[in-house]
Amino acid sequence: MESSRFSVFARYVLAIAIVLMFVFPIAWFALTSIKPISAIFDKDGVVVFDFVPTYENYQVTLFGQQSIDVSENSRSDFGTSGGNSYDGRSSIVSSLIVAIGSTFLATTIGLLAAYGLSRLQFRGSQGMLHWILSQRFLPPIAIIIPMVFIFRDLGLRDTHLGLIIAHTLINVPIAVLLLKSFIDDIPRDIDEAAMIDGATRLQVFWKVIMPMAKGGMAATAVLCFIFSWTEFLLSLFLTNSIRTIPVKITTFVTSTGSEWGYISALGTSAIIPGFIFILLVQNHLVRGLTMGAIKD
């Protein structure tokens, strides 16, 4: 009895410790974003809550105010090109376009490929699966230079479309694999029942397989979105003027110092769209949508 109560207690302590470990950096980051610069850099000690909150960092990064207007301790703008370079709005738009676009493409392509690989038997379908997976063995950095040249020659460099394609390429293998496992879970009998009911292959896919694979599509979309939303390397190399949030934030690290306030404000804001996206799809994230179709 004693030991079991202790083990319950220990489990709680461990769980809380782990949660704290993950939450702390985010919380600290969020806290930093509303601190005045004097509280961020206090030479006498670490300021935790003992400061007057300021929304200056958000006003600059999200609402496009010139940093000079809101700042009382007048920052210098050396090393950055104009006051608006701390405006994160266009990078949020770019990130959204790229993330939503590549998520949509990767999930769509992944679904079609997964259905084919799961249902149609053709020579080398197994080999094809391995080949698709092998596309992820190579780190993107290894192919970045040829990729930059190819994208430049195709006129895709520094375009949203280019980045969407790049992120889709990276996400498709995972999407195919994940979705195939979901479609494999839907018994073939259901395809066949639908065909006997009068459906063509396309109708089977559209009216039966897709609705039943909704959970898998949601899970895949979340993974693809998060990847694209946080991806840095490809975005950095494939764009100049279009900057996604991760790349934009690095420009806040300037030759005259890092703007921790702006970094944390934009970084904290960047969590929100991903969060909303996951909230939207989480209802579909439950597995077992095939439940009830067959004997358990």
Binding site: P187, D189, I190, E192, A193, A194, M195, I196, D197, G198, A199, T200, Q203, K207, V208, P211, M212, K214, L289, T290, M291, G292, A293, I294, K295
Partner: protein, 357 residues
């Protein structure tokens, strides 16, 4: 409604031939059961009729139409699968209406057909539920509802009851039979359960290793198995089979099994010295005043009758009695084979030995 005719059907998977020149005629309105052990090709035959598998050679026609190479949706058949294969994301109503939605049946007509099917299958209270909210038996009924709403030419069932528990299986068996009586739709029904086959079929087709071993009404097959395989496959407890030799004893043919002499019916197509298998079903091996000596090993009362598992000169046999005697293990009794139900099989060919006509 339509007949189904299969002619010289061969099905190969790569080099593996799983159906060897099958000929099968199902008459309009008949209930035909394909029966055989697992892996004998029943499902393959059914799926080829459905068009879910292509045939390697041979012809299949439904009604007057040759359906070789025709897409399943154009064959006007309906199929019920072992695992129900319901559309999990649709309500019961939409599961049943799916085929009619696809062929753009007017909404009023769909409504009418779905309600009709639901009333036949007592599914009215469940029309707005999802499959996951139904019990196994209800799901199976939905699968049947989906089949009957369209008024197909042929119903195909692939072991539809094997996922249900024993009690429900018996109940659904009756329901399917009643449904057939009511709709009179030509039906091909696959099972490995001989009781299902016996109770439901107009015609039982016994299959083994991609061949049809015998075809006939349940009682025909039970009483006149064409060979050893059919004799062993049908009946529970199974037919007693004793390896023996035909001997002529004072002008009469008998079968000598070890030191036992078993009586034979007249007019058998046999000759002295022939090696045979002597077959007698348990219910035709009855404890009586005369007959052959047997030592009781186990007594199994089933209620209406009692199964007596006995040793008979080194062979294990089962005798059945409908009388309630107080038998005990190790008791020695006399059992009498009913002559007209004795089966003889050639020991080499395993074919049944016919009576002279």
């Amino acid at each position: 409604m339509a007949s189904v005719n299969v002619e010289k059907l061969v099905k190969k998977y790569g080099d593996l031939e799983v159906l060897h020149s099958i000929d099968l005629d199902v008459e309009d309105g008949q209930f035909v059961v394909l029966l055989g052990p697992s892996g004998c090709g029943k499902s393959t035959l059914l799926r080829t009729i459905a068009g879910l598998e292509s045939s390697t050679s041979g012809d299949i026609s439904i009604g007057e139409r040759n359906v070789n190479g025709m897409h399943p949706k154009d064959r006007n058949i309906a199929m019920v699968f072992q695992n129900y294969a319901l559309y999990a994301h649709m309500k019961v109503r939409d599961n049943m209406a799916f085929s009619m939605h696809l062929n753009k049946t007017p909404a009023a007509r769909i409504e009418e057909r779905v309600n009709w099917a639901a009333s036949i299958l007592s599914l009215e209270p469940y029309l707005d539920r999802y499959p996951k909210e139904l019990s196994g038996g209800q799901r199976q009924r939905v699968a049947m509802g989906r089949a009957i709403v369209r008024n197909p030419d042929v119903f195909l069932f692939d072991e539809p009851l094997s996922n249900l528990d024993a009690k429900l299986r018996v109940q659904m068996r009756t329901e399917i039979k009643e449904l057939h009586k009511r709709l009179k739709t030509t039906t091909v029904y696959v099972t490995h359960d001989q009781i299902e086959a016996m109770t439901m079929a107009d015609v039982v087709v016994i299959m083994r290793d991609g061949h049809i071993e015998q075809m006939g009404s349940p009682m025909e097959i039970y009483d006149n198995p064409a060979n050893l395989f059919v004799a062993e496959f049908i009946g529970s407890p199974g037919m007693n089979l004793l390896a023996g030799k035909i001997v002529e004893d004072s002008g009469k043919m008998i079968c000598r099994v070890g030191e036992l002499d078993l009586p034979l019916p007249e007019q058998m197509n046999i000759s002295a010295g022939q090696d045979v298998l002597y077959g007698i079903r348990p219910e035709h091996l009855i404890p009586s005043e005369t007959g052959v000596k047997a030592t009781i090993n186990v007594v199994e009362p089933t209620g209406p009758e009692t199964h007596l598992f006995c040793h008979m000169s080194g062979h294990d046999v089962c005798a059945v009695s409908r009388e309630r005697m107080n038998w005990k293990a190790d008791e020695v009794i006399l059992v009498e084979p009913t002559l007209e139900y004795v089966h003889l099989f050639d020991a080499q060919t395993k074919e049944a030995i016919k009576r002279k006509t």
